[in-house]
Structures are given as C-alpha cells and as structure tokens.
C-alpha cells in the first residue's frame, strides 16, 4: 500500500476543512486534505451556494411575472417562462467556479489534496480509498470535518418522489405540486423559491409555527409573504408517509388526517452529523448527544484529534466551521488562538430574509428591546418592500448590545454590522453615533439604536 505522512490531516473539504487547510498551509504546517466528494462540501455543492442561485433565479422569474398586467411602476411585461435545465446549468457553472477556486487556494497555500474516501484506523492514521488504490496516511494531528447530511425520516425514506435538499437543488424540471415536510429555514428557502417559480407548494410543520427556533415577531413577515405567494401551510401537523400509490403525502392535522397530492415531497427536518461509517466511532471520542464534544481549541477527548463544523453541533453554519478551521490551524501552528467568539450570525434566505445575531429578547432577564420598522426607511420604500424591521436587544442600563435581529428584503447583507457590534462590545451609543449612509437599509439599525436611547428621529 502506498504511504504518506503529514503533520495535519483534515477529513473533509467543506468550508471548515478547506479553510483549515488553507490557513494551516499559509502557516507552514505540512497538511493534507482528504475529500470523498468535491471540494467545497455541502455549502458549495449542495447547500448555501446552489440554493442561493436557485432563489435568485426564482426571484427574477417572480419579479417579471408580477409585472405582468398593471403595476405601479408602469412597466409592462408578458408572461415569462423558465427552462429549469438551463437554470441548473447556470447554477452548476457557479458551483464549478467556486469549487475550482477552493482547489486552487489549497494548492497556493501549499496544502496537498487527496481525492478519496477515508477510513480512520486510529487516532494517528487513516486509509484512503483513492482512484489510484488505497493510500495510508499517518498524521500527527487529525481534524474531523466530515459535516452533516440531511436527516431521513424512517417513514419517508429518500427515493422516488421523496427527495432531500440535495435533489431539490438539482431537479431537471419543475414539479407541479411540491410538499415540504419541515418548515425550518431550508424548507422555507427552497419552498419559497419553488412557489415563485409557479409550483404549488404545501408546507407541513410539526411545530405550532414556521421557523420554530425564532419568535413570532421575526417569522410573521415571512408568514405573510408565504400567504401572499399562496403557499399551503399545515402547522401542528405530522407527516405520516406516502399514500400507497405514492402520489400523495399523508398528514395528521389537528382537523384530522389529510392527503396532500404531491409530485415531489421534500423532507427538510434537520441535518445529522456524519460521525459513523468511517471508523470514527472506534476512537471512542466523547460526544455531546450526536455531536463530537470539543473544547476551546476544537480539540476532542483524544489527543491530536480535532473536530470542526457540523460534527460539533449546532448551529450548523458554514461560517462557524470556517472560524473553527482557522482556530485549529493557528493552534497547531503554535499561535495563541482559541475559540472566543461572542456571536455567530445566522441568516435565513427566506422572503423576506431574517438575520439573527446574539441574544433573542427574553434570553436573559432584564434585557430591553428596541425595534425600528423598515416602513420608516426611505430606501426600503424605493425597493418596493417595506415589510420588516431591525430589533436590538440590549442592557437598559449600560446600553450594551446583546443581540440584533432583523427581517427584511435584502437585510442579509447587514449581518456584518450586527456581528461586529457584538464582537466589539458595542453599545447603543456606538451605533447611534456612527453615521450610516443615506439612503440605505442600514439606517434602520442606527434608528433602532437611537430609539433605544430615546432619540429616534424618523418615527
């Protein structure tokens, strides 16, 4: 068997793994990244990027379609049509460019890339099944960055009409009727895009509300939009399985059992960490529930074994994995880095978008909330979308900002300011006294801070 060795071996080239690989390479750490599929992981191949591409295409299509017939802007247009196969080809082009970019960046950093499926032999060595035959790699340190995969419901196994987000982002043609099981952010993002493309979408959610991890105030504008898009919604309803002929989804609702005729059934009920099936369980690492337990250096219970990204638990977000990757790389290069992030932003690319950073209202006793509506913002009016708001959760005495949430079309791009405020330990005064460019949506954040100080100008 061929053999190789390195100081750092990274299993998985998703956002966590490839960033760890690039940073380690930059710092002169002899590093190998092993990936079974394509570089970029879920995010670039079957997650964030392709879904954003699909959402953009759907928004464009919907925008043109909504102009058909009379509109206030005075634009006349004829009914659009879409060739989904070309949409998918465009999306694939973006994915190819990004994954190719990742390979190039790894190469530039001096990090080696091995294509193949790795099996952990012990805490210091793995065997990779490569196209050129098996390869044994011995490493001083191993980083588990194997990510997560869509959670499968036993009574709705993937296959046939039942699809996961991966297939939903690569459909060759649009289904007429799509049922979405699970109204979390993935289901809502894809479901909304499909609805905008003209698919008859029905959401089935077991909880009492959509986006159950957020409060009603945040999800309300999204709910309103879903209703405007004529998306069917079953809350407090449990999917039971397919009908015998496989053409409908059986659902137990509060009003009794129902059958929802469906061409495709998208199951988005969460993601499960990939921690088994490649020898990892034999290491006997300490776990936190289904996730690998890690410390502030992303070190596991076994010396020389680290874990980053989705395998370490919620929130399963690419930018969290990337930041963890940097921590591990710098730690192994001898730099005094550790995980001390104050906040991890989360964005739902629903319509309108939702951004949450830090504490939600009521996360702690004594926190105050100041909210400013987009309706009071000039830019949002010129964009034709005034639904939504910016909300700042803060300490009423010191003004220290504990969390910021916002809902609104295009609001995702404001996530950076929100995170920065919390990492810097900003107070309401810091934001209120910072000039925000006019006319931009960002002024809403400043106004919310001013309002919290009792100094709001535009309300």
């Amino acid at each position: 068997m061929r053999q190789d060795s390195c100081k750092l071996l990274i299993l998985g080239a998703g956002p966590g793994g490839y960033v760890c690989g690039i940073r380690a390479g930059q710092l002169g750490v002899d590093t190998i990244v092993v990936e079974a599929a394509k570089p970029g992981g879920t995010c670039l191949n079957v997650g964030c990027i392709p879904s954003k591409a699909l959402i953009h295409a759907a928004d464009e299509f919907h925008a043109v379609r909504s102009l058909v017939g009379g509109n206030a802007l005075g634009i006349s247009a004829s009914a659009p049509s879409i060739d989904l196969s070309r949409t998918m080809a465009w999306k694939d082009g973006i994915v190819r460019r990004l994954t190719g970019g990742v390979s190039g960046l790894l190469k530039k950093a001096g990090t080696r890339y091995v294509q193949g499926y790795a099996r952990v032999l012990d805490g210091k060595s793995v065997e990779v099944t490569t196209p050129e035959g098996p390869l044994r790699i011995d490493a001083e340190n191993i980083v588990i960055a194997t990510g997560a995969r869509p959670f499968e419901l036993p009574f709705l196994p993937f296959g046939g009409p039942v699809i996961s987000s991966t297939e939903a982002l690569a459909l060759p043609e649009l289904p007429k009727r799509l049922s979405v099981v699970g109204a979390g952010y993935i289901g809502l993002e894809i479901g909304t895009a499909m609805a905008k493309l003209g698919v008859r979408v029905t959401l089935v959610e077991a909880a009492k509300s959509i986006l159950p991890q957020y409060d009603a105030e945040l999800s309300k504008p999204v709910l309103a939009r879903l209703q405007a898009l004529d998306v069917g919604l079953h809350l407090d309803a449990k999917a039971q399985g397919l009908t015998e002929d496989g053409t409908a989804l059986r659902v137990e609702t509060l009003g009794g059992p129902q059958e929802i005729p469906s061409d495709k059934i998208l199951v988005t009920v969460g993601r499960a960490p990939v921690t088994t099936g490649f020898g990892l369980e034999d290491l006997g690492l300490s776990m936190t529930g289904p996730y690998i337990a890690v410390d502030r250096f992303c070190a596991t219970s076994m010396r020389g074994v680290f874990a980053i990204g989705d395998v370490t638990g919620e929130p399963m977000l690419a930018h969290r994995a990337m930041a963890q990757g940097v921590v591990v790389a710098e730690h192994l290069a001898g730099l005094p880095t550790l995980w001390d992030k104050r906040a991890i932003p989360a964005v739902c690319f629903t319509d309108p978008e939702i951004v949450t950073v830090g504490a939600l209202p009521g996360a702690q006793e004594g926190l105050a909330v100041t909210t400013f509506p987009l309706a009071g913002n000039g830019r949002s009016m010129t964009l034709g979308r005034s639904d939504g708001f910016v909300r700042i959760v803060h300490d009423p005495d010191s003004g220290l900002i504990a969390g910021i949430q916002a809902v609104g079309a295009g609001i995702a791009e404001m996530a950076g300011e929100f995170s920065l405020a919390i990492e810097m330990g900003a107070t309401l005064t810091d934001i209120a006294a910072t000039i925000h460019a006019h006319p931009t949506l960002g002024e809403t954040t400043q106004e919310a801070a001013l309002k919290g100080l009792g100094q709001a100008l535009h309300i």
Binding site: A359, D397, S398, L400, T427, T429, G454
Partner: protein, 438 residues
C-alpha cells in the same frame, strides 16, 4: 501658618556643593523636627539632612542627581505659626484636615457625578439607556453574555499574546468594555500576579522596564571608567604564576601568627610591588596627558580596588615600601573597613600611584583591568586553582594563579610591560626574593 525653608547645610570643610541622591519626603508629607528629609553626597561621603521644623512639605528643591550649592533652600515647610514643638499632639488634628485637603478633591470629584447620575436615573427614565461612567468604571460591570469579558477581538488577541486573562482586567470603556488602554495598564504593572496569566499559557513574556537614575557614587564611577577607557589605550598582559611556594609560606605564617592579623594574598602583592617598582619607575607614575608630563613617584601608594554596597572605591595604602607584611595587613583591614562603612577620609581615597584589583575566588581566568587615571598601570589578580603542571618528567599538582596587568600604552611599551610582569611573576613564584636583601 508660616512657610520656612530648610537650607542645604555646610556638610564638610571646603565643600561648596552636594549632589542630591535621595528624597525621604515628598510634597504633602508631614515631617517632624529631626526627621530625615534628604540625602546628599559630596566627594567624601553621603550625608543625611534632617528637618529643622515640624510641618508639611510644600516644595522640594530639585530632582535626584541634581547638584545643589550649599545654602540652597532644600525644602519648604509649612509650619504652625507659634513655637509648638513641645505640643506633639496639637499639630496632629490640625494637620489631618490639611492632609485630606491635598488628597480629597479627587475622591470628592468622582463621588459627585455618581450621585447626580443616580439622581438622573430616578428623575429621567428616558435617559436610562445612556451609558454612564458610573456604571462603566466598575470592574464587574454587568456582562450580559455570561461571564465573558467585553472586549473587541483585537483586544482579546492582544491579551492572549500577552498571557493576560481578561476576566481579571477591569474595563473602563462604555458598558465595562475592556479597551486597549485598560490592557496598557495591565502590561505596565510588571508585578501583576500570576492571576493575569491565562490557564493555558504557563509561560508569558515579562513586560516592562525599570529606570534607575545613575547618580552619586555610581555616576562618579561611570564617568571615571568612561574617561579611563576612552582616553587610555590599554595593553593587557596575562601571565600564569605558580603560587605554591607563596601559599605554603602564607599558610606557615598564618599558623604561627598569634595575635597578629591573618595574612591574605594582598599584603604579599603589595610587598612584591614595593620590591619590583624601584627597578621599574615608569610603572609607579602619573601621566598628565593634558600637560604632557609624566611624574614618577619614589614612594609606592597602593590603590586597592574595593567593593562596597555603594560601588567600587579605591582606598589607598600609603608608602607600602616602608611597611612590614603585618603592618600592611593591619592597614588594609582598617582601610577596607573604612571604605565599606563610608567612613574613609578624603585623603584615604586619593593619591594612589598604582592600583591592585582582585576579585578573590571570583577572580576568573583573566580580566582586563581598567587603569585608575592618572596612573599608568594596574595589576589584576585572578583566582588560585590547583592545576597539573609538567615539571620536566611528570605532571605535578601546583597552585596556579593568573595575573592580568593593564598598562597605559601611550607611555609604557609592550616590552617594558612584559618585563615588569615577568619580574612580578618571579617574585611571586620565589617569595624569598621579596624579602632577601641582595
């Protein structure tokens, strides 16, 4: 109330100025009559200056290291108007408010805004959210996200690099935020306890430095050394000396010394020089390089480099050539004691014609002694060690000692230096030659 000066008194005959080497008081201190207020140094000695009055110090004359003429107002003291010396309790109550007067304003100032801020709080609830210094100056300012200290990522990174645990750092920024300035304060505290070190960082660089003013004795030494080393081109000759015979002789003499002082190596060295120098008058000389004159001395006044708490001093053993071995030993003991206790008289610290320097057991293998100007030669002796020496047929253990002698190469040629060193070597190796009149 009256402000009176304490003048720099006449601290010695012929002394016109003195260098301030230490303040025992600062402005605002309360002193009593006879309390030491300062120390000054003259050519001869360090003198402590007592206060003439009881009262509060209102002014100091200058900085440490400054040279002040005799009669200068050293400090100004605010005294009670009447003669109150025999009422020791009376000034105390009067002084206490005066003392507070000097320090209180700060505390009162900081206390006032706090209470007004609290008044704001109840009176204007709309203003509540505005961050107030009263909140932010607290080290334990409310931190919403658990126990995490509030600090910008750059501050956190800097703290990690410096091994500082931010949980121990009081934040003075808005909402108790730890700022770069707060870190500066920690870094400048060199004695910051181990608590400032993060748990994962057992070693951290020590930060900070200490400035020590070079004053008094140290400054004098520094100036003389710089002058000697800059002006004089030194030639240093190192030679090996077999002192077995000398050490045997010394041991015998010490065994039977009775009430006489114990003999160290130094009296023998003095005797060797006294014996050798008449044949080498160029070594027992002063060179006035400005006047271009060499003064050869008939008598040998031996300077002995001596370490004291204050630094290097060189007491002088006068007319060694006229003294016996025990007289020399007695005189050396007296002089070194005087030098160590700063009681040496001025004439005991000047007038040497040649100098010996020895570090005893610390004497190393060789040294490069610096000449004591205006002399032209200095003899350094290194440590004695038992070494195997070849006697022609076998190795024998011998007590060996190196001597390192420096000469002013402007007036002493290398050949002369070498001959002189050989002369000393032969006298030390055959000690009988020191005492035999040929």
């Amino acid at each position: 109330m009256k402000v009176l000066p304490v003048k720099l008194p006449d601290v010695g005959e012929g002394v016109t100025e003195a260098e301030l080497v230490e303040w025992h008081v600062k402005v605002g201190d309360i002193v009593r009559e006879d309390d030491v207020i300062a120390a000054v140094m003259t050519d001869k000695a360090t003198v402590e200056i007592p206060s003439l009055y009881s009262g509060k110090i209102t002014e100091l004359a200058g900085e440490i290291g400054q040279v002040l003429p005799i009669g200068t107002d050293l400090v100004m003291i605010e005294t009670e108007a009447e003669e109150v010396e025999d009422q020791p309790l009376a000034p105390a109550p009067a002084e206490t408010p005066a003392d507070n007067g000097a320090k209180k304003p700060e505390t009162t100032k900081s206390a006032e805004p706090k209470s007004s801020a609290q008044a704001d709080k109840t009176a204007e609830p709309a203003q509540k959210a505005r961050p107030r210094p009263a909140v932010s100056t607290s080290a334990n300012a409310p931190r919403i996200e658990g126990a995490l200290p509030m600090a910008a990522p750059s501050v956190r990174a800097r703290a990690r690099d410096g091994g500082i645990d931010l949980r121990q750092v009081p934040g003075t920024g808005p909402a108790g935020r730890i700022t770069h300035q707060d870190l500066d304060a920690v870094f400048s505290r060199a004695d910051h306890p181990a608590a400032s070190r993060g748990p994962g960082l057992p070693r951290s660089p020590r930060i900070g430095s200490e400035e020590i003013p070079v004053v008094g004795m140290r400054r004098r030494i520094a100036e003389r050394m710089a002058l000697a080393n800059a002006r004089i081109p030194h030639i240093t000759v190192v030679e090996e000396v077999d002192v077995t015979a000398l050490e045997d002789l010394r041991a015998k003499l010490n065994d039977s010394r009775g009430a006489r002082p114990k003999l160290t190596l130094l009296p023998f060295l003095a005797a060797v020089l006294a014996r050798a120098l008449p044949d080498h008058p160029e070594m027992n000389a002063h060179y006035d390089d400005e006047a271009g004159v060499i003064t050869r001395h008939a008598g040998v006044n031996l300077g002995m480099a001596t370490m004291t708490d204050a630094g290097l001093v060189v007491p002088v053993l006068r007319h060694v050539e006229a003294l016996g071995l025990y007289d020399i030993a007695t005189e050396i003991a007296r002089l070194s004691e005087a030098a160590r206790t700063s009681k040496a008289r001025r004439e005991e610290l000047s007038g040497s014609t040649i100098t010996v320097t020895s570090l005893g057991p610390l004497g190393a293998l060789a040294t490069t002694p610096i000449i004591n100007p205006p002399e032209v030669a200095i003899l350094g002796v290194n440590k004695i060690a038992m070494r195997p020496m070849w006697d022609g047929s076998q190795f024998v253990p011998r007590k060996m000692m190196n001597i390192s002698a420096s000469f002013d190469h402007r007036v002493i040629d290398g050949w002369n230096a070498a001959v002189f060193v050989q002369k000393i070597k032969s006298l030390l190796e055959t000690p009988a030659l020191i005492f035999v009149e040929v």
